[in-house]
């Protein structure tokens, strides 16, 4: 048995995760958080108009930002798991499909993907036939298939904006997440698989009962990091008229022309949210003994 392997997946586009030694009041994290909260409080007290008005205008945007982020990360986790398993699959076809998905998605900017799924595919879907007509033309088919096809056509035809936005974000981050899962799974020592297989586990049981539960420890921190990155990138959906934090800020500024004030508040609120989340991720790391070294 070789020495315990040190594995660390570094995904750098999330917020900086505080290191363990950065404790105490004078860490960069505390300075940023107290600074940001202090700025918000000071501005709202010293100049309630417009700062307090802006703060009151934004909360539903913050909710939408979280809604988009959480739904997208759930979709991304699902796609990521499938992709990660596909990438290490010995089946050549599955492997190729998963790898191609990652290549294609990673090669297209997220903003372009958003436009593509929302406006380009939206136009294609809106030209689909009416669900009722589809049901009629498929009268000869078995009931269950008709039901599924009509359901899918109806859903695609009237895809709500939020779903389109979440789909775009989820598909994009699913590719990144696939890499995280792949690296996480590959980080588990081969001996684990060999041991499980020789104990009579089949390949699926080995993956889901032995490998993945251990891989979680390596996977979770980068997933948390991706979550933060996704939350920041979710500001891109404001281009699709989804009323998130940035869009609400822009709406306020477009009426009052207080661009400085509105975007200052939007920036500070994003900062506070990501700072708190990054602390959460680092706490999770600590709990998972991520950095424990013997």
């Amino acid at each position: 048995m070789p020495d315990k392997q040190e594995v660390r997946i570094d995904v750098s586009d999330g917020a900086a995760i505080p290191r363990k030694r950065d404790i105490g009041l004078f860490s960069a994290w505390w300075i940023s958080l107290i600074g940001a909260l202090g700025c918000i409080a000071y501005l709202c007290l010293a100049k309630p108009e417009p700062y307090l008005d802006i703060l009151k205008f934004l909360p539903d945007g913050i909710l939408v930002t979280f809604e988009v982020t959480i739904l997208s990360i759930l979709l991304a986790l699902f796609l990521g798991l499938i992709t990660g398993l596909g990438r290490i699959s010995k089946n050549r076809t599955i492997n190729l499909i998963a790898s191609t998905y990652v290549e294609v998605v990673r090669g297209i900017p997220l903003l372009v993907q958003l436009f593509y799924i929302y406006f380009a595919l939206g136009q294609v879907f809106s030209n689909l036939p009416n669900p009722a007509d589809v049901a009629e033309s498929m009268a000869a088919w078995p009931g269950i298939i008709v039901y599924v096809v009509v359901g899918v056509v109806g859903f695609l035809k009237d895809m709500p904006p939020l779903v389109a936005a979440v789909t775009a974000m989820g598909v994009c981050y699913g590719a990144y997440m696939g890499e995280v899962f792949r690296a996480g799974i590959e980080s588990i020592d081969k001996g684990q698989t060999e041991a499980a297989r020789s104990l009579g586990f089949n390949r699926r049981q080995t993956m889901f009962l032995v490998i993945l539960p251990q891989a979680w420890r390596t996977i979770l921190p980068p997933v948390g990091n991706e979550f933060i990155a996704l939350l920041k990138d979710s500001s891109l959906v404001s281009i699709l008229a989804v009323a998130d934090l940035l869009r609400r800020g822009r709406e306020f500024a477009s009426v009052t022309f207080s661009y400085f004030e509105a975007y200052t508040m939007v920036a500070l609120i994003y900062l506070v949210i990501t700072l708190i989340l990054s602390k959460g991720v680092s706490a999770m790391e600590t709990r998972l003994n991520y950095y424990v070294r013997d």
Binding site: F119, G122, Q123, F125, D158, M159, R250, S254, V255
Partner: protein, 245 residues
């Protein structure tokens, strides 16, 4: 030698003063047929034509600078351009932070819907998905009618695309623009319709916006506008873009 140089500099300075003043106009060229981008990436439409005519009549040079709508007002106090010619409605709110020329066009807010939709009046819009371009009087109208559910887009074209794709029930924009999409646009005129015009509390006019206190630019523009209207040039441009109606 020194004297020669000095006199040369003086002559040059005088020459530049004597030269026609150039005013830079910011236009968001995504608002057909008022301001739009043609196949040669030039900003064309009723607005640019009018600006050029005004410049000619007012004795100054005009330059159109294509500028994104969201933030177009922010560039005015920064001095990025001298004026905004972008179908800007004169509102009391805007008058607080900028000055306006004499009005050059009257608009109403038009409601574009899908062909055959059961939206005939303002009351029918309640609870519907209504979109408009951010920071336009169309968006303010949408907000007044459906509240926070009103959806703001970066460009009216994106809102129209969402309407055509079935994600919106209505789009509110200037009547000229609404008519262009619903009646003459080859892509949309078959599927979209102009449902009705919102009756305004008081008439809504478009004006050229300048930085607050910029009397020189305002004077030049107003003088030119008056001349263009008097000479019949205005009617010619109007006819070119809006036909006989």
């Amino acid at each position: 030698m020194k004297k020669l140089l000095l006199s040369l500099v003086c002559v040059l300075m005088l020459a530049s003063v004597a030269q026609a003043k150039t005013l830079v106009f910011a236009s968001d060229c995504t608002w057909p047929p008022m301001e739009m981008t043609d196949a040669n990436k030039q900003c064309v439409g009723f607005g640019p034509d009018l600006v050029m005519a005004i410049a000619k009549a007012g004795g100054f040079k005009a330059e159109i600078k294509n500028t994104a709508w969201d933030g177009i007002f922010a560039g005015l106090p920064m001095g990025k351009y001298d004026a905004i010619s972008s179908s800007v409605s004169i509102t009391d709110e805007r008058k607080k932070s900028m000055d306006f020329s004499d009005p050059y066009f009257e608009v109403k807010q038009g409601v574009v819907v899908k062909e055959g939709a059961a939206i005939k009046a303002e009351a029918d819009l309640k609870g519907k998905a209504v979109g408009a371009q951010i920071g336009t009087t169309g968006f303010f109208a949408a907000k007044r009618i459906v509240g926070d559910a009103a959806k703001s887009y970066d460009e009216v074209g994106l809102a129209i695309a969402d309407l055509a794709n079935g994600r919106l029930d209505a789009v509110i924009c200037d009547d000229a623009v609404a008519a262009d999409y619903a009646l003459t646009n080859p892509e949309y005129s078959k599927t979209l319709a102009l449902a009705f015009l919102i009756v305004p509390e008081k008439p809504e006019y478009l004006g050229f916006a300048v930085k607050k206190g910029n009397k020189d630019a305002l004077e030049l523009i107003n003088k030119g506008l008056k001349a263009v209207k008097a000479s019949g040039e205005y009617d010619k441009i109007f006819k070119k873009w809006f036909g006989s109606n």
